[in-house]
């Protein structure tokens, strides 16, 4: 099974919080003093059992902020 690394482009993130709602195990949203809240990736290499939820977070992010990068074991 390939493993994946979660990569986010913080410039695109406006803190909508969809990722956190879809997969709170991996994503949190952090309030910033100024400007938008930003996604915080708690687990860069999510467990295989979470991949379906992580994929939902990727798919439903309104700003296409999150990417999954396949990594070599």
């Amino acid at each position: 099974m390939p493993r994946y690394r979660v990569q986010v482009d913080l410039m695109l993130c406006q803190g909508h919080g969809v990722c956190k709602e879809e997969c709170p195990e991996v994503f949190d949203v952090k309030d910033m003093k100024t400007g938008y809240p930003k996604v915080l990736v708690k687990e860069r290499f999510p467990d295989e059992s979470l991949m379906e939820k992580v994929q939902a977070a990727v798919d439903y992010c309104p700003n296409q902020t999150i990417k999954l990068i396949e990594v070599e074991d």
Partner: protein, 450 residues
């Protein structure tokens, strides 16, 4: 083809500088003009906006370069100063950058998931009320219809039930007066249209009075409501201070301006395209029925998964993007692919042109709601992109989806006018369907829910 000193092709057909260069042709129909500019010149096209030389930049790579550039290089506030009298001093482009960022954070709070789950049933209820007296069949102007519906949904979500149900014609008229002063003229000379601007200033002042009354009333009552007004009243800047009442009024006008006509027109185009393509509408209607039959509340998690409806609305936004001139003022020489765009010029991105690029959208002229979302986040830009992307994008999508979830459950629609109607017109900077935008509706014969 003429070129500027920086080697960027210059669009043909300019009048002399004294006659405004390309300004008149631009104002006739900005999207058509920019399409012509792109066809003639390609990725970069320079033109004369009545004294401000402007460079149209086309394609995901060019969009990304602009969206990733900081405000101290290409500045939105500098380009949009003509909006300051509308939103008011002290908010958005009328505030220092740091304050504007904090205000965006406040908007974003009001649009977070848990808030949206509160707005979705409000939008559903407003739509149900709207159709309650439609009868079994009829026809109506849906451009006006959706403009009317969305002023109700937005005031309801923003200012609460009480304001919404005491909504007067005065509010709508004031708001309309503000809108009439926000057109392409502002991109050129903010002082050129004195009468419209005097009316605008009077309307802005009266709107602030109405909103202030609401704020004072709520403060006095001590009530707490789940609407955006409450979010703005509770919000604090980094130094702990609250928004002043005039700033709250500004936040509300800002939110309404950004979201009202843009959403109404998107709904109108979505309906026109559903009526134009009954074969493609079938899958959307089936999806709406499935959600309705399951009896679930319209919350974000459910609505997010309505992929057929979303694909349809996204395609309506691709083909008929409401906002077609995203402008930035170059404040430090801006280099792109070896061309230097000098300080003082504007750069402009145009979703209408961008969304018709064959390189990004195969068979771009075909309306195809099953089209996959492009991988590059800078190809499809109906809401702009980067840090200045429309903060209401998810709210807008939610709103239009909920409206159609209710409408399509009850009615089916067909075009009432001849083929040539439903044309794309731009009497302001917002693209909309031509008048009148009449469609016929008929109550659906529903199969029995299992």
């Amino acid at each position: 083809m003429n070129e500027t000193a920086s080697g960027i092709p210059f669009v043909s057909g300019a009048r002399s500088a004294g006659e405004g260069g390309h300004f008149e042709e631009f104002c006739e129909h900005p999207a058509n003009f920019l399409m012509r500019a792109y066809r003639e010149c390609g990725e970069l096209a320079e033109f004369d906006m009545g004294g401000i030389n402007t460079v149209l930049m086309v394609g995901p790579e060019a969009h990304e370069a602009v969206f990733r550039a900081d405000d101290d290089k290409v500045s939105a506030p500098e380009a949009y100063q003509f909006m300051v009298p509308i939103f008011g001093k002290g908010v958005q482009y009328g505030a220092p950058l740091d304050i504007e960022r904090q205000q965006l954070r406040m908007h974003s709070r009001g649009l977070a998931s848990e808030k949206m789950n509160h707005y979705a049933p409000i939008i559903a209820r407003e739509t149900e009320d709207w159709i309650a007296n439609w009868g079994d069949s009829g026809e109506m102007d849906f451009y006006e219809g959706f403009a009317d519906l969305t002023i109700k949904t937005s005031t309801h979500c923003l200012l609460g039930a009480e304001f919404r149900y005491t909504l007067t014609d005065e509010f709508a008229t004031l708001y309309h007066t503000l809108g009439a002063a926000a057109d392409a003229g502002g991109l050129q000379d903010p002082n050129a249209r004195k009468d419209a601007y005097d009316a605008r200033d009077a309307a802005r002042a009266r709107l602030e009075e109405l909103i202030s009354e609401r704020v004072e009333y709520r403060k006095a009552s001590g009530e707490v409501h789940p609407d955006l007004l409450q979010v703005y009243m509770d919000a604090t800047y980094a130094d702990g201070t609250h928004l002043r009442t005039s700033e709250i009024a500004g936040m509300i006008v800002w939110f309404m301006f950004a979201g009202h006509h843009t959403s109404a027109n998107t709904a109108a185009w979505t309906l026109v395209e559903l009526a134009r393509h009954p074969d493609l509408a079938t899958a959307v209607i089936a999806e709406v029925d499935a959600v309705a039959d399951a009896g679930t509340q319209y919350d974000l998690k459910v609505v997010r998964r309505m992929s057929r409806l979303e694909g349809f609305i996204r395609e309506a936004l691709r083909v008929h993007p409401p906002l077609n001139t995203l402008t930035r003022r170059v404040v430090k020489d801006f280099e792109y692919k070896g061309h230097v765009i000098e300080k003082g010029k504007n750069v402009m991105l145009c979703p209408y042109v961008a969304h018709r690029l064959e390189s990004e959208f195969e068979h771009a002229e075909t309306f195809d709601p099953t089209r996959p979302q492009p991988k590059n986040p800078f190809a499809l830009i109906p809401f702009g992109g980067g840090q200045r992307k429309c903060v209401g994008n998810a709210f807008a999508m939610l709103q239009v989806k909920v409206i159609f979830s209710v409408l399509l459950r009850e009615y089916e629609f067909e075009l009432a006018g001849p083929r040539g109607e439903y044309a794309e017109i731009m009497p302001s900077l917002i693209l909309r369907p031509s008048d009148p935008c009449i469609l016929k509706y008929r109550r659906r014969v529903r199969r029995e829910a299992a």
